[in-house]
Amino acid sequence: MPDNDWPLWEVFVRPRRGLSHGHVGSLHAPDATMALRNARDLYTRRQEGVSIWVVPAAEITASSPDEKDAFFDPAADKVYRHPTFYDVPEGTQHL
């Protein structure tokens, strides 16, 4: 099957100015130019975006084979990173 030569691309769309690109899905295309064109036709038929990134899926390095992992545990006990950790004396303003 010739399609086997077409790699998988992950597609990221910036919905409008001021927002980050977000992942919307994936598609197959022979090269980056076609991936962009296909992404436009597939994911922005209704003006869902003002900018598109396409990334070869094989080039993405992901954090771990699991979505739940010890990798993220170190953040769990650092509650002091959140403003709600701190007691604010009554009457304090604009803090």
Partner: protein, 351 residues
Amino acid sequence: MLAKPSESCNTVEVYGNDIPGLLGEVEAAETALREAAARDTEAAHGEAAYFDAVIKADQKIEPRDWMPDSYRKTLIRQIAQHAHSEIIGMQPEGNWISRAPTLKRKAILLAKVQDEAGHGLYLYAAAETLGVSRDELVELLLAGRQKYSSIFNYPTLTWADVGAIGWLVDGAAIVNQVPLCRCSYGPYARAMIRICKEESFHQRQGFEILHTLSHGTEAQRAMAQGAVDRWWYPSLAMFGPPDADSTHSAQSMAWKIKRFSNDELRQRFVDMCVQQAGVLGLTLPDPDLRWNEERQAYDYTQPDYDELMRVIKGDGPCNRQRMAHRRRSHDEGAWVREAAAAYAKKRAADA
């Protein structure tokens, strides 16, 4: 997590329908469950226990999570069948693109059929996250080893059929698909959100075609009524066999792939259509259709499930034609795929 349509894309105004409202309810339902979920899943030890806890807490399973083999297989079968339906579903309406009565109708129909191709691609992409390739799935379809929705094996005899498909077939699809936006498998749920937003344009354009015809000449009105008469029961059959005979339902419900039974969804569809048929000034071809005060729902005649089974098995009016057409266009497109791959290879070598 579900994307809130109002925040994640600027499309609410563009879609202009009540689906974003429905999706808002979906989001609200999920937010409430998310916090409880965090507690339960933290306590779960082991892959299977974690999977069960995620499902129980109405959270999403994502591609790299551990999942039971049967869950994966069920999803691949369902998503592939759904994708194939979108692709084959382009044919009955594609049949009328060159004969649409006005340039406006032609442009709308082209856009709709293009959307259906898009739906197929979103779904193949979702299926691929489960470890199959799109090529494999396309091969299975072409070899007749995977199915598509039986509804697309009925012919589009008149222009009014395009209206009836939009109103009834896309309408039934919406009733089926809105609950799938809450399916437990993340990529499928996200694809369904995109699809549902687009489907409501499809339904409205069909409704408008029928409304225009039913308020036109006597011949036009008769054409609209004829199309509704032909598409009503096949549309009811789209929800699948009655609950008593539905083989996959119980497990799919337990896994929260499915949220409502076939009969519940069918009833919901009937109840919606009765009022809308009134607005169209058309009748639904069921002499026994009447409001049941006790059930707070309409009583209606069931579709012919033997016919449904025959059509699924390959004996519908257009099964052979649909498959032959799909195989032909796949073969005729081969040179385009090959040329694009050759060009990409050449460019990569030059670089």
